[in-house]
Structures are given as C-alpha cells and as structure tokens.
Symmetry: C2
Subunit: 240 residues, 2 copies
C-alpha cells in the first residue's frame, strides 16, 4: 500500500524544542527528508535502518529544488514508506509546507502537517527578545528579508522579524527607514539560535549592516527590528 | 533556597504540541500556575502532590490580574518551590511572558522562557490555512483584534492573524477594509483549535461578523485575514 507523509516542524534547532508529536512521528518513519535548517541532532536517535535523505544546501553545492523535494516525498510514499519531511521551525512559516502538502495531495498521498516552534518567535527569545511586550510592541510581522519588508509600515512599537535576510541586510535596513520607523530603530541579528554558534549582534537600522559585516554575520540568522530589541541582555546600557 | 520559575509555552492546546523540554520541565514542577488557554490535559499527568494554581478567567468570574500572577510566581519561588507558569501558545506572543520574566528577575528569581508552538500559526494550520504560501502570501502579521489591526497595511497577499479579536470582530473587520484590502478579502475564524469544539467559520471582511454572529462564535478563537484562507478545506469551491 501507499505510505503517508508528515510535514514536521522541527523547531529552531534545539532538540528539546521539537513537539512530542513530532518526535513520536519521527521515531516511526521509514524515510526522513531533511535540510540544513531542521534539528539534525534528532537524526542520531533514529533506528539505523531509517533512510535519511539530505536535501539541504551545503557550501559550494546547490540545494535540491522544491519540485524535486516534492517528487521525493511522493516517490517514497508511493513505494510504501512512511515519510517524515523534517523542517526547521514551522512548516507554514516561510517553509514551503503548503507546496509540499498540495503536491502530495495531488498525487493521492495522505499528508499531515505537524506545527512546530517557529524560529521567527523562538530565535529572538533565545536572545532575550520578546516579539511582543506590553508598552513596547503590540504585534509583530514576519517576512523574508528579500521582499516586502519595506511595504509593512508601523512604528517601532510593531516588531518586524525577517527570516533569510542576512545577505541583503544593508538594502533591507535602508529600505525600512521611514517616517514612522527612524534610522535609530534598534535591530538585532541572531545567528544560529540555540546552537553552539549562537551570537547576537545589535545596532540600529543606520548601522546594523556595518556591524554585521564587521563581525562576519552569516546565515542562518533571524533579524529583529523594533523597540523590543532594547529588552535583550545584548543591548547596551539596559536597565533591569 | 529559592525555587526557580519556568515560563512554558504550552502550544495551542493539543497535548502532542507541547515541546519535549516543556513537558520534562512540567514533570519536575512543585507548583504549576495555569490559565484557561494552556493545554490543561497535561495537568492530569502530574504527580498528585503538585500544587496547581488556576488563574484563568471563568464565566462570571474575573481572571487574576497580571500583577497578582507575577506575585504568585515570586512567592512560590521564594518559598523554595520550582514553579512552572504554563501558558497557551508561546509566552512571548501576546502572552505577557516578558512581564512575568521581568517581575521574577526584579525579585531575584531565576527564570527561563521555554518557547512554544504559537496559536497564531498553528490554529490556522489546524484549519488547513498556511500563514504563508508561495504565490499567495509572503509574510504575516500577528496582532490583537483590540488595537492596531487597521494600522498594518498590506494587501491580501500579507496575512493578518488576530488573537483575542472575537468580541470586536465587527469593528475590526470594518476597519481592515482599505484600498489595498478590499471588502471581499477572505476571513476565517477558527474556534477552539485542536480542541473537541474546533470549528471554522469563513466569510469576507464584509460579512464575517454577521456569519460569526449567526453561528455564535465564541472565544478563544483565532481570526485569519487574507488570500491564504482560500486554501482551507472549509473555503467553498476550492480547487485542489
């Protein structure tokens, strides 16, 4: 018979931040399809006969294109395997989970999405930054750094979280300066949230690109823009 | 000696969507402080000598005010207990986690935030709605329904998620109609996500308040506004 597919949100990388359901589904998988953003340490717990397929980008190589990932999910399920697509964060937060779900359904494969702890909220938290905070920020927006960030207005009391934005940080920071969001709006770049290389670089829209370049910030990183950044222990002169 | 405090994001309500770390910390608590939004079924797994303090709103009663919750956390930790504050969703997504953290720190209590699966993303997912989807929505914003929703522009390709917005749905829906976001923009109201009473009501900014009133929508519910709502199986005439 056909296998099934689960799109599992693996959380920000810390193995403790996978959901109980995600973990138990993973433990029953025949095939696990991973990329560089999922909590890869979980793979070490798997039975040795589980097939692990790595579709992640590695330096110097290209990642497997999305349509090929979709095809892999379908092929393995059609061959009778139960397949887990282990994703970083949450499958529906800029994770292309919806595309994978549609592709599987179109092929007649049963598929379920298991939500995860999104990096958009948890990676800022790892740096001591709450995306909302009474009297500081009443809401937040999540965008890629590549497009659209400048189209979401809102003052410093509305937090912006940018995923996949490191390579275009200079352009994005410049575009974000508006009448409502001045050049001295605080910014934090959080690299490798919860990982061994976690590092927080803070600055303002005016100087964050320069500071990030100085310390050699690299993806994966989450960028947070707004007054909440001042609540981080990494922000200088904080009072608490 | 002093106890410690953990602010644990319990996820949207399904016991499988608590993180592994949240679950293991909960299992070691002396005192658990809960409200109506946390995954209360988890409490049944606790040892009978764990003290459970309910600070939730019940019909006809008022909830415990935030400053009293802060004081409870501190008092129990000062008395030597390890305290878990079990919260719905994620502590930092309109969950007042930052206030509880600050209060504990100011009192000299060690406190840690354990991120959770936010209802803002997972409750829409329970209704088959991805907050982002290639070609449909490139980002999303999370706000309360009470304030600020109308201040976040963006067309139907930017998803709005409103928490705690059911009681003011008519006002909010009217305020959200702008040049970029027409009155026929799809809206879904998802009640009791993952719970036994999960129900999805769909409509448009023009008619959602009337439809919600017709079926008697009640909190807790998550409101999703944008083209992604059409991807839900609850949307009529969908093609997939």
């Amino acid at each position: 018979g056909l296998g099934r597919v689960w799109l599992v949100g693996g959380g920000p990388g810390d193995t403790g931040l996978v959901t109980a359901r995600g973990r138990s589904i993973l433990a029953q998988a025949d095939v696990v399809i991973v990329d560089r953003l999922g909590p890869r340490a979980l793979l070490e717990e798997l039975s040795p006969d589980v097939e692990i397929v790595d579709v992640g980008k590695t330096s110097g190589n290209h990642p497997v294109p999305q349509h090929e990932i979709n095809a892999l999910l379908i092929q393995h399920a059609q061959a009778g395997s139960d397949v887990v697509r282990l994703k970083g964060g949450d499958p529906y937060v800029l994770g292309r989970g919806g595309e994978e779900l549609s592709a599987c359904r179109a092929a007649g494969i049963e598929v379920e999405v298991v939500p995860g702890v999104t990096s958009a909220v948890s990676v800022p938290a790892a740096a001591g930054i709450p995306v909302t905070h009474r009297g500081v920020a009443r809401g937040f927006s999540v965008l890629t750094g590549h497009d659209g960030a400048a189209e979401v207005p809102g003052g410093a009391d509305h937090t912006l979280v940018l995923l996949m934005g490191v390579t275009r940080l200079a352009d994005t920071a410049a575009a974000l300066v508006t009448a409502d969001r001045p050049a001295d709006t605080p910014v934090a770049v959080v690299e490798d949230g919860y990982g061994p290389g976690q590092r927080v670089t803070v600055g303002t829209l005016a100087n964050i690109a320069e500071r990030a370049a100085e310390v050699g910030v690299r993806p994966p990183a989450v960028i947070v823009v707004g007054a909440v950044v001042r609540l981080s222990p990494s922000w200088p002169h904080q009072a608490r």
